[in-house]
Chain length 286, copies 2
């Protein structure tokens, strides 16, 4: 099994920064790459914010941040970033053309035994494997937002991925404090969205159809399952735009749910927790 010591994280957006920070926090040497100085400056702010977040939310994290930051190198030089990486985790925007162009460069720039992993939520690894120059050493490694709390790492190869590479990445995921979840066949939405989307759609149907209001739906779910959040609280946490985008690309029934979300919530600026209101109000009392 390949030993992973050096990790390159490509893309320093919300999740890329978290992956870089968590990997460094757990002792790995990390190079975080983004396309220009402006993006890297944003990455510095994101990493600095993560220091504070980990201090507050991660047990035992109080004294470790100086070390952590010392293990992260930021660069806009792709060749340097991947030159001696054992593992490259790609977390660039969810646009096929951007990812394709990047993998075509990596095929040349990364050593032939470097493992490449995509964090893509919406593409399957089979959509990307032919650009990587090493389909046997390519797979998906999918994190959830707020990685320090929601610490699942879904690991999904293509039929061409070497099983030993999958084992290596399952171990790496565990080494950086994740709960590794092997997905044995490619599946859009991985495990989480394959479960969450039907639940959220069913909840929207109940409210859109006038059967029950969102707060009552949530009450039933919380009481019956012991869950801390009902489906409409989950909508608010995710933000309504993402489910809206998924539903608007669905069948006629899905599109009617999308229209309901748009007219009653999104068009009124009720986008969820981030906007201060969604199905619930999060505004401070006057």
């Amino acid at each position: 099994m390949t030993e992973i010591r050096k990790v390159a994280v490509l893309g320093t957006g919300v999740l890329g920064s978290q992956i870089a920070f968590q990997s460094a926090y757990t002792g790995f040497e990390v190079v975080a790459y983004d396309i220009n100085d402006e993006s890297l400056q944003k990455a510095r702010l994101r990493l600095a914010a993560l220091v504070e977040t980990y201090r507050k939310e991660v047990t035992g994290a109080a004294d470790l941040q100086a070390d952590t930051m010392g293990r992260i190198i930021l660069t806009s030089d792709l060749a340097a970033a991947v030159a001696d990486a054992d593992l490259v985790i790609e977390a660039v925007p969810e646009v096929l053309a951007i990812k394709q162009a990047l993998y075509e460069k990596l095929a040349r720039l990364a050593p032939s035994d470097t493992i490449l992993a995509t964090n893509s939520s919406t593409l399957l690894p089979s959509d990307l494997k032919d650009f990587t120059g090493r389909p046997d050493r390519f797979l998906a490694l999918h994190f959830a937002n707020n990685i320090w709390k929601f610490n699942t790492a879904e690991v999904m190869g293509t039929p061409e991925t070497d099983p030993a590479v999958i084992d290596t990445i399952l171990k790496f995921a565990s080494d950086i404090g994740m709960v590794p979840i092997p997905i044995r066949r490619e599946k859009a939405g991985y495990v989480l969205n394959s479960l969450l989307v039907p639940l959220l759609n069913a909840a929207a149907e109940l409210a859109e159809g006038g059967y029950a209001n969102p707060h009552d739906v949530d009450k039933v779910w919380r009481i019956a399952t012991g869950a801390p959040m009902g489906p409409f609280q989950i909508y608010d946490m995710i933000g309504l735009n993402t489910p809206y985008n998924i539903l608007s690309h669905g069948d006629k029934h899905a599109r009617s749910l999308a229209a309901w979300l748009k007219e009653n919530y999104i068009d009124k600026g009720k986008l969820g927790i981030a906007s201060g209101e969604g199905f619930y109000s999060y505004k401070p009392a006057d």
Copy 2:
């Protein structure tokens, strides 16, 4: 608004006994009816067991059981049971012919202003209203098993139900310690099963399709949503026979999930918590 003081509970099975006990526990005068002495003897045992359960699981219940039992009359005389009931809650077996015959008797025996409520899980109140002799005073009042813990009461009328009757029953539900959930249009499965069935089906699809194993699916769900149980733990809690029966009456895809449940679990005696094993083992260690 009608004031509810006297309640008749028809049917003293698992849920009927709980409804009778909870109503008496919260101060209502209850008559519990069943068809013969043998059934009533079983009801006595169920009620006695509930005394113990409430002592253990319900805060403040330690001293109240003598009172509670004193407020419950058991009888196999239907006419006497409903003669001066303000509310009749029907919890007899889920067989249309049985319920129909009962409502035809109630139409004659219960005072014309007595409200009739069905606890049916699988029938809509519209399926029964024409037998009641009072469609304006008839609705569904649906409880969950382990009423003292899972205290939702879904309240669902037909288009003919008087809105004042719905309000009366919402208040009654609250008065007996339930969280009343108004369902404004008839919906098979009420709120809970309308949400739960799609989630459980999606989970079965992931496992049946070989994408991920049940324990990993549960892990993702628990971590991502903070829920105490993943979908396969919920299967085990419900028992696999109920989802199997629902799936076997579904479309081709549902029937293939039913076959998977049967071959891999039900046929091997893995029925869930009640049988000691389902997707998880509940057997004590050797």
